[in-house]
Homo-oligomer: 456 residues x 2
């Protein structure tokens, strides 16, 4: 179980510690609570707040919200962050926020309501406040929102020695940095040097002689999904961010990109299943109900459409009830084959492995796969139906219907996501209903239509 | 389109470059090919090899395989790596492999057949060969396979100046390192210093005074999924790996962890859709057919089971064909609601947000969500069926059946993945068939059973 694995960490959030924390909350024992929470990593404190019952969380916040620091605030999921911040004394919020890099402050601010945003902004000192407000002026989910403004730069002509002296004499450095970015006189980034190279080179070496071979920048307006793709594709550790004129405005580090990658995956998975893509376990019954109702409603419409197809053949079913017994098998197999193709397509579009260039080949392959599996399972099902109902022509009908449906499912499963992507619609979000409609309609139509034609 | 976005990079893999490359292959023009491929990032060369048609790939390899270096080999997907390596002259393979860190060599070796493995191992010099063979002795998908053996360590008592002098006098350093690991005399890691701190501190400062607050190690035998979790949860950049006795044996960096996270997500997504979890677009028709047939077969069994339930009520359907028209709607809605709950559960298990502690609350919430959506859609469907067929009692039956089915779907969707996880079975892989069986059987049984009882 998840808890057992985590208990290996000395200071992790194991079941025993959680019980002790809940007991301390119950007993209003602030000092015991401090002893139990203090050694935890901020990410584990955030998990605790998310996992305990809402009433225990309120009680804990009443006792302990003064101790919540910026790192914990950063880790808390959007779903409960507003609740946590409003429970904190304003001066505790101010202190917590002042420790953070601008990208983390922006991440917290984004999802808050106006008054809470204002409270945080006014806690920042002038320079930080301007930096955060500038970051907030970039579109949501853009590189500009993701970057930190704190960068370590050097002019092109510096040596290793000059750089090290500069770093030693700087009061303030970002929490995390992995490269020194070399800029030209107009602040355009032109190359970077890893800290490892900087440390192992002699003082007299020129920085421009030890730059990395591979160097790229990201524009602040680019969507964060593209940022995650670039980091993953090119194994970047950090990447300078530039404005439209090519001037350095910030830097994105790999931990932020990893976070985006993780969120994108989560969204794709939830969207493909028709769940609100911001769903968390902390959602209330009402939020969760609403977040799933839309897709259920769309599914109801496609199911009714499929029923209308069945209704066309009501007379045929009336004459042969075996058709009613068998028809869900055809639709179910079609639905599953369609989902398989669709998942492969959605994934390949996300990783940019499926392009207009190789699309014709991939579509041909999918249809061939559908035909092969359709032939195999059509044959199996023909045998099953033949023995079950003792009607050879019924066996032929279900076998052929299975073949046609699985080919249609394969074709729909690959073409629909590609068409949605081309139309600028997220294929993870919208493919499912379309593919289901195709497989249901084709499945019922093929099976009942063939049955009417051959058997009646 | 994906291609348009990528064409923004000067040296990216845009459609024009791909066309030019294909033309150069066609013309057997090796020098043009060199000019076109040379400026590309290794990851883009790998993508190119994966995306072009198999015959064009063979032709390109015949012309250019001598130029393939270690970085390109690392980036190529497992599906075509064997083909690429066997097309290369042995001395080119040897040269390519010698440039790589041990973790990358291990990653390449893992998926090769015995003779190709031996060819690569014999190309390595003694020390590297031993290191790679030791790494291969760890279980597949463990931290030991993922780590690089190349580490930068320092004794606890060193100063910043001693460390920098040591780095400057070392011939060889890893391609990527972000921390200096401090070890005790028995090589147990006790803390680490970021390179940023090292660069900004004065020479006389003791390393042990500038270590990071948060420090953890990973055991070499831990599964790589846990490594990805730790990096993501605690925002690690690199993490020392220790043997069972706690001695330092290597280090894992965040780019490796990000790769694992990406692969885990891909596997979960494909498994949930019933696709072979190593499926790629480069698979042949035959491989893809086989990779999907297993799940289609399992689905066929559950669909036949559902048909048997329908068969029990054949007499009822014979008397009222409207039941045959409406019953797929109940099953389809149940299937979708079950998939929604299941996806939320599988995802929450993967991120360890769903634990035995909060399970009862989450289960209660899911069932409440199922009941609410069941009530809403039961009512809608009762109205639709009532108007469509003009039978008030049929409306009541389908409304009640919808409510029961959506509650069962919600319960099954959360309990089945949890039970599988507890039994040590991957919930992403196995939940689907069980959940579908529950929703189909309950859906048909509730609807046709109620109909038999109320209407007959």
């Amino acid at each position: 179980m998840a808890d057992d694995r985590r208990s290996e960490d000395e200071d992790g959030l194991d079941a025993r510690r959680v019980s002790a924390i809940l007991a301390a909350i119950e007993a209003d024992d602030t000092s015991a609570l401090n002893d139990l929470l203090e050694p935890l990593h901020p990410a584990d404190v955030a998990d605790l707040l998310e996992q305990i019952r809402p009433d225990a969380r309120r009680h804990l916040l009443a006792l302990w919200s003064r101790e919540i620091d910026g790192d914990i605030l950063s880790e808390i999921s959007d779903a409960i962050r507003e609740e946590v911040i409003t429970s904190m004394p304003p001066e505790a919020v101010a202190e917590a926020v002042r420790d953070l890099d601008t990208d983390d402050v922006v991440d917290i601010l984004e999802d808050l309501e106006e008054p809470a945003q204002e409270a945080i902004l006014s806690a920042l000192d002038g320079v930080d406040r301007v930096a955060v407000e500038q970051a907030m002026s970039y579109p949501e989910y853009s590189a500009g929102r993701l970057m930190q403004r704190e960068v370590v730069v050097a002019p092109l002509h510096w040596t290793v020695g000059e750089m090290i002296d500069h770093l030693r004499n700087t009061d303030w450095l970002p929490d995390q940095f992995y490269h020194v970015i070399l800029v030209d006189p107009r602040m355009k980034p032109v190359a970077y040097v890893t800290l490892g190279r900087l440390l192992s080179a002699r003082r007299e070496v020129a920085l421009k002689d030890i730059v990395e071979d591979s160097f790229r920048t990201i524009e602040a307006s680019e969507p964060e999904a593209d940022v995650a793709y670039l980091f993953n594709q090119y194994h970047l550790i950090s990447c300078p961010v530039v404005d439209a004129a090519g001037r350095l405005v910030g830097v994105i580090t790999i931990d932020d990109a990893m976070n985006v990658l993780d969120e994108e995956h989560q969204e794709d998975m939830l969207r493909m299943a028709g769940v609100d893509d911001e769903a968390t376990l902390a959602d209330t019954v009402w939020e969760a109900t609403r977040g799933r109702a839309l897709w259920l409603f769309v599914n109801l419409l496609t199911a009714i459409l499929a029923s209308l197809v069945i209704g066309l053949f009501a007379d045929t079913i009336d004459q042969m009830v075996a058709l009613a017994v068998l028809m869900p098998i055809v639709a179910s197999m079609g639905g599953n084959a369609g989902t398989q193709s669709m998942t492969v397509a959605v994934r390949a579009l996300a990783t940019r492995d499926l392009t207009p260039r190789n699309a014709p080949r991939v579509i041909r392959r999918e249809v061939a796969v559908g035909a092969l599996n359709g032939a195999v399972f059509g044959l199996i099902m023909a045998l099953v139906a033949g023995f079950w109902f003792g009607m050879p022509m019924l066996a032929v009908v279900i076998g052929l219907a299975m073949l046609l449906t699985l080919m249609a499912a394969a074709l729909g499963g690959i073409v629909i996501p590609m068409a949605l992507e081309r139309a600028g619609i997220d294929p993870a979000l919208a493919s499912g209903p379309f593919v289901t409609t195709v497989t249901d309609v084709v499945g019922f139509f093929a099976f009942l239509g063939l049955a009417t034609w051959v058997l009646m």
